[in-house]
């Protein structure tokens, strides 16, 4: 069975916390990845998800969240995409390449994060 939410972030603690938060607050399953290569190796599972939450900066010299976004779009991902990032609001690449995906800035209060996820999946706040 595929997870409802895909979470991409290079921080391991966040990768452990996000599934707990989404499970306890919304009952959603979440699979987490630390980089684009891991997403690519779980292609089928990822592409069936309803929502992808992507960090942008995944460390030096590795594809970032925008590359992951392009990969998802290129492989027919039909779910919603949320960017959850520590900065990059003023990054010109973010402005020009995220194509309408919602940009959330860390740190976000857990209730706000849950509300955003609920809106993205169920269309409700």
């Amino acid at each position: 069975m595929s997870a409802t939410v895909v979470f991409l972030d290079d921080n391991e603690d966040l990768r452990q916390l996000m599934p707990i938060l989404l499970k306890t607050s919304l009952g959603l399953d979440c699979i987490c990845f630390g980089n684009l290569a891991e997403i690519q190796s779980h292609q089928q599972e990822v592409l069936e998800a309803k929502l992808a939450i992507l960090d942008i900066n995944l460390g030096p010299f590795v594809p970032d969240g925008i590359d992951a976004f392009h990969w998802l779009k290129a492989h027919g991902f039909h779910g919603k995409v949320l960017f959850l990032t520590g900065h990059a609001r003023n990054n010109p690449r973010v402005k020009s390449e995220i194509n309408g995906a919602k940009l959330l800035e860390k740190p976000l209060r857990p209730d706000e994060l849950v509300a955003c996820v609920a809106r993205a999946i169920y269309g409700i706040s």
Binding site: D13, L17, P107
Partner: protein
Amino acid sequence: MIADDPPEKKHLYQVQLPASGAWAGAMTAALFNALGMVIELAIVRRTPGVPAKPAAISAVVALILLIVLVLKRRTASVKWAAIAYLVTTVSVISVLMNTNLKFAVSQRNWLPFQENKLGCLAAALVAPEFWAGLASILAYCLSGVLQLEFFFPPEVRTRVALEPWPLLAFGLGGVLALIYRFHRAHLTQELSRIQAQNAAIRRLAGVFLDIRDRMNTPLQVIELSVDVLRNSRQATDEILDRIDRSVESLNNINSMLVEHEKEIEWEAER
């Protein structure tokens, strides 16, 4: 702060050329002098009544200066370049004081004060410091004017009736060119300083963006950990470990900020 540094206001005599540029100016002047005096010697040999000794001495002085300047180019300084340049000027003017009158008397088609006029323009182009250039131009002009007024016989003065006005015009042209050259050097230096400031500001802006990114992730971990701690039955130690790691990350970022704080203080003290 770096961004608040006002543009520097400098008088022209305070503008310092780069040491290598000043040194090159002094070397060029010495080279011109050496070559010029060799040509002068060739002319003097065909002109009876004009002594060759001053030009020969000046050529030797120029050659010695040139050798010293070439050998010492790795320890170039504006001060020594200016001194060498002034030695060249004195050496050239000594020759002109000795030979101008004799050329004027012995050659009916003598073009008055050509070397002095050339000296005014050369000073504007190669002087290593503003005051050295200004002093040289004044020396080239005044030496010619003094010769004309006090040492030239009336028949020669009649022949060169227009002088000293053309000589003074060259002097004025030299001063204007010198002002332009040093004003331009000042603007170039200001531009480089502003570009360096901009680069420092951009670098700091990049660092602060990076720091924001690094701080926001541990803060997010703390936010979520506290929430999970409140709402779940997950083992408390594990969550507290996460909070500890995040706090440690924030402390590391604080250390980074301390490093950059030093950089900002250094820029402000500059």
